[in-house]
């Protein structure tokens, strides 16, 4: 009899635990996605799926990809593509990095609102962020030593901007590394000589303005049409085809309800 009760008790505990795991979704990765968009998506999803909990950590795209590789997250948010070395590391552990585009983004170059500059060319952007040019007067500004704010090396935005805007050249030695988009926007907003880059969703911060690049400003139209130079897809990475709660949340994100939130937050919907 005691053994029977023990068996039932164990089964109940197991059921409770698996139920808790089934209702909890761990998402790690990109600060670009994880600071605002994914939490809002999660809130809306929770409202429609009671009992669901989310564990969201936004410390950079590299951490999201690593989490899929080591199995500590069901979804890895990333604002960049996985590198060959990461895909190889995943394959070595029997994992398959499957990307799903969940939103588009335009990396906006921002300067302080008081900066008289009206726009920049792609060449000027490269020159500024690589340190070839160190004074605003060289790019049509009123003079002043340029202060560069960038993301840190675990950021997908850091890698994307280096590829899209800097021809893979190194950032200037004096550039200041910030943990997230909001921090960059805050610093540029305080520094009249500041320049940085943020995802489109973070361009509404006070004290900053967005630079047209070769005359094109990042918008839904220019990013969806791929006419803005620094457009990029953002991803959920999963281990192979998603299943269970991860699949439901991914389907929600790319469905009409999720894409409405994407547009509201300031990203560009995929359709």
């Amino acid at each position: 009899m005691k053994i029977k009760y023990l068996a039932v008790g164990c089964a109940l505990v197991a059921a409770t635990m698996s139920s808790a795991n089934a209702d909890r979704l761990v998402i790690k990765g990109s600060d670009t996605l994880g600071a605002k968009l994914v939490p809002q998506l999660a809130e809306q999803f929770k409202a429609q799926h009671s009992g669901t909990t989310f564990d969201i950590a936004a410390e950079g795209s590299t951490t999201g990809i690593a989490a899929i590789i080591d199995g500590t997250a069901e979804i890895g948010m990333s604002s960049r593509r996985a590198k060959t070395s990461e895909v190889g590391a995943a394959a070595a552990k029997g994992k398959h990095m499957k990307p799903t585009i969940v939103a588009y983004d335009g990396i906006a170059v921002i300067v302080n609102s008081a900066n008289p500059i009206k726009g920049l060319t792609k060449k000027q952007v490269e020159q500024i962020f690589t340190g070839d040019v160190t004074d605003w007067s060289a790019v049509g500004g009123s003079g002043g030593k340029i202060s560069i704010y960038t993301r840190n090396t675990s950021s997908g935005t850091y890698s994307d901007f280096k590829e899209l805007a800097m021809k893979e050249r190194d950032y200037a030695g004096g550039s200041q590394k910030m943990a997230g988009n909001e921090q960059i926007a805050a610093e540029v907003g305080k520094n009249p000589n500041g320049v940085g880059y943020v995802g489109m969703a973070y361009t509404k911060a006070g004290g900053v303005k967005v630079m047209p690049i070769d005359g094109v400003t990042p918008s839904i139209k220019t990013v969806q049409g791929h006419t803005y130079s620094y457009w990029r897809p953002t991803f959920y990475y999963t281990n192979g085809e998603p299943s269970g709660l991860a699949k439901e949340f991914l389907d929600f994100t790319i469905g009409p309800g999720g894409q409405k939130i994407v547009a509201q937050v300031g990203f560009v919907p995929i359709k």
Binding site: R81, A82, T84, S85, V87, G88, A91, H96, M97, K98, P99, T100, I101, T130, E168, R169, D170, H226, P233, F235, I270
Partner: protein, 484 residues
């Protein structure tokens, strides 16, 4: 859905005929084009990219990871097998063994493996590992080990032949520091090809192009030659290209650390004449003028001087007999003028090459060597003819030259170690012929015969033949070189 499957199949088929690593690298532009043409969606393109990346990651090439600062890196090197005969004859007035030959037959190999590349922001680097510890040789003799049994590895060590860092960020300038390939335009008359000097080098080069006049005018369209059979006008032939001259002007400066003094300030009383590091300084300016049809002329006048004393080469050079100083670099202020003229004869490259050197300080060098009044022994020169080139399979080349060096003309520590056995006060003829068995495999034969230039002096320098004076000398080498 069927259309999408067909599209994916077509994309996979297109990539099937290229290497996996190439597919992953080249896929981006093609996929972007297909998305722009709305053949596939962004999501479909990402799925194809992910598959290709996964395939690339599974290949050996895909597992290589280079650190981020490296923009480009090249693995290169060469291996060589050599048979060599080298012999020298004593003087006729040698007290012990007059007119006697000392001969060596050797089978040798060499290996050189290097990495060179570019880093971010116009920096470049290079390292090369080489066999042999000699400054003028990378050869190792089979069976040359003297301990640890046959086939031991005593003399088969690997050494750092080159290790340098440089910067090319200033237009037309190259700055290099470290143990580097010789940055100067020179010939083996002064510098053995295997020497990698250590120190600093600054190189400047600028190209000027001159268009002189024009070619023949185009044929007018109404001329008889300009009409086709049906009477319609044909396109007139284009006007000939203008006559172009290309002038490359260059300047190379070097500050080589020839000998480090250790210590400059020893324990105890400060020396009255303290030793300082010995520097070899080189000052070279030159030009290469290229005419149409591959005709060129190049001159590179150079001045070498030495500063400081060091502690290994600061005994005055004497150069006579084996047991007197053969390596002193005192009183050397050498002017050198390498010259080359090249042209093509029915597509066959030809060139006349030469080098002339004079030591302006030879009077003092001779006096300190115990030969006052013999400062006239200050000249060295070579002149030769080369036909052909070794660039591709079945190419051939032959070079022959005359070489003459006098006792007080040159630094004996740097002259070529094969032709005339690293010695000065020698003259003679050398011939080298090569044939490319394949693009990277060259077979070479070298022969040289020389004799003492002036019988009143020894043949200064330290070579493989332990005779001084080296009254006659002969060398023969057969090489098989593989470059990679």
């Amino acid at each position: 859905m069927f259309r999408k499957k067909l599209t994916f199949a077509a994309i996979a088929f297109c990539f099937a005929f290229t290497g996996i690593a190439a597919r992953a690298q080249d896929a981006g532009a093609l996929l972007d084009l297909l998305v722009r043409k709305k053949v596939i969606s962004d999501q479909e393109a990402e799925e194809v990219r992910a598959e290709l990346t996964k395939e690339a990651a599974s290949t050996a090439a895909g597992k290589w990871k280079l650190s981020t600062p490296i923009n480009e890196i090249e693995l290169y090197g060469d291996a060589r097998m050599r048979y060599e005969y080298r012999g020298g004859r004593t003087a006729s007035n040698d007290l012990t063994n007059p007119n006697d030959w000392l001969e060596r037959h050797r089978q040798r190999y060499r290996l050189r493996i290097g990495l060179r590349g570019t880093l971010a922001d116009d920096w470049f680097f290079g390292i090369r590992l080489e066999t042999s510890q000699s400054n003028r040789s990378t050869n190792v003799t089979f069976g040359g080990d003297s301990s640890n049994g046959p086939f031991s590895k005593q003399d088969d060590g690997i050494n750092v032949g080159q290790a340098y860092l440089g910067y090319k960020g200033f237009p037309d300038f190259t700055l290099t520091a470290g143990r580097m390939p010789n940055p100067l335009v020179t010939t083996p008359l002064l510098w053995d090809d295997d020497i990698n000097p250590e120190g600093l080098a600054q190189q400047w080069k600028h190209t000027f192009t001159f268009n002189i006049g024009g070619g023949a005018a185009a044929a007018p369209s109404y001329s008889k030659e300009g009409y086709s059979k049906d009477g319609k006008g044909v396109v007139a032939p284009p006007a000939a290209e203008p006559f172009k001259l290309k002038l490359d002007v260059f300047a190379n400066f070097a500050q080589f650390v020839y000998d480090d003094t250790n210590p400059e300030n020893p324990i105890g009383p400060t020396p009255t004449n303290p030793d300082h590091d010995l520097f070899m300084l080189a000052w070279q300016v030159g030009a290469r003028l290229t005419f149409p049809n591959n005709v060129y002329i190049q001159l590179a006048p150079t001045l070498y001087n030495y500063s400081g004393s060091g502690d290994s080469f600061n005994v005055p050079f004497q150069g006579d007999f084996t047991d007197t100083n053969q390596t002193g670099i005192n009183n050397l202020l050498v002017f050198d003028m390498p010259v080359e003229i090249g042209w093509k004869l029915w597509e066959l490259p030809m060139r006349i090459f030469g080098d002339f050197a004079v030591n302006f300080d030879a009077d003092d060098r001779a006096a300190r060597a115990g030969h006052p009044g013999s400062g006239g022994q200050r000249y060295a020169y070579e002149a030769g003819l080369g036909i052909g080139q070794l660039k591709a399979k079945r190419d051939w080349e032959i070079r022959a030259w005359w070489q003459h060096t006098e006792q007080f003309a040159l630094d004996p520590n740097l002259v070529d170690s094969d032709i005339f056995d690293s010695r000065v006060n020698m003259q003679g003829v050398a011939v080298k012929a090569g044939y490319a068995l394949a693009d990277a495999i060259i077979f070479n034969l070298t022969w040289a015969y020389g004799w003492r230039s002036n019988g009143n002096f020894g043949t200064g320098g330290v070579g493989d033949i332990g005779i001084n004076p080296l009254d006659q000398y002969q060398i023969f080498q057969a090489d098989l070189n593989v470059k990679f």
